[in-house]
Symmetry: C2
Subunit: 181 residues, 2 copies
């Protein structure tokens, strides 16, 4: 499943190469402000990014993006609204920025590449199904173990609080889960 992601991302890069701009962010940099029209997707080449939003004042991690991953204000792009998501670099990172407007225009001219865009969306969808089922059926410990298998590199680079909110539990709970195993 994960090498599938890699293959898809490479395809994405080769297809949209002409409209991708490489950008670097320092650790801690804000890549995209929330409450704005998030008009870009970011394809991660190195480093680590995180998207997050605020729910009753608390910071909730929506997504982590490691190399070959993609992050963006999907809500804004799909719904044409201001985005609730913020995006930040947790580590010094290199990304390829893909302006959504440019992508749409490009696809208008080259509909044969719509398929790639659709596949990216499919991947996002399947990813979300997995997380949904995790929330439905797995307890805190199981979700964390699953996460560790899925994002082994992330354990050292993301903070406890970020991971906890991503997994839908408090940081106290995650701390206890970690100790117990």
């Amino acid at each position: 499943m994960d090498y599938l992601l890699e293959a898809l991302t490479k395809q994405l890069i080769s297809v949209f190469g002409s409209i991708l701009s490489p950008v670097s962010y320092k650790k801690g940099a804000v890549v995209q402000e929330g409450n704005s029209l998030g008009d870009s997707l970011f394809i991660v080449q190195s480093g680590l990014l995180r998207s997050y939003y605020f729910q009753n004042g608390t910071d909730i991690t929506a997504h982590f993006a490691v190399p070959f991953g993609i992050v963006g204000a999907v809500d804004s792009i799909l719904k044409q609204q201001r985005s609730i998501y913020w995006i930040e670099a947790l580590q010094c990172s290199e990304v390829l920025q893909l302006y959504y407007g440019q992508m749409e225009a490009f696809l208008e001219d080259n509909p044969e590449y719509e398929r790639v865009a659709r596949q990216v969306l499919q991947m996002l969808y399947l990813d979300l199904v997995e997380r949904f089922e995790g929330l439905m059926f797995l307890n805190a410990q199981e979700r964390y173990m699953h996460f560790c298998r899925r994002y082994p590199d992330l354990i050292q680079n993301a903070s406890l609080g970020h991971i906890a909110s991503y997994l839908g539990m408090t940081q106290e709970t995650l701390s206890r889960v970690r100790r117990s195993k």
Copy 2:
């Protein structure tokens, strides 16, 4: 949001009209067996369908489909595996069957319609985001109230157990939620 769904479905019907087959199911009929290669999507014209799967022997409703809705074994279609989903008619229903293979072939020849397919997927995605956030942030009562607003017709036609599993709670809990308000 819901008239958007309606518009999109109508577009889907007009685009893929030539490869859609109308089918009727009686109440209780199995539309698609689980553990098979789910090769179709169903566009609901009247009635009510449900997709479900088994998690440790218990029947979990994955999705309800009302008129203008779409239901199918998405996992199988996207992953090319046998599907875990069963689909049944909860009421006497009329649907338009769309064979996925035919759709792919059609899109191969008419890539300008890929966009519609992508939009359907986007809708599924946004739907799932909403359910995910419901599970994350809302309690049983809030999820049920949300559900009632979203699917007002469904309350009388789907059983307590079906709705409860869809919402990620036990039927006992849903029963108590109902009484309390």
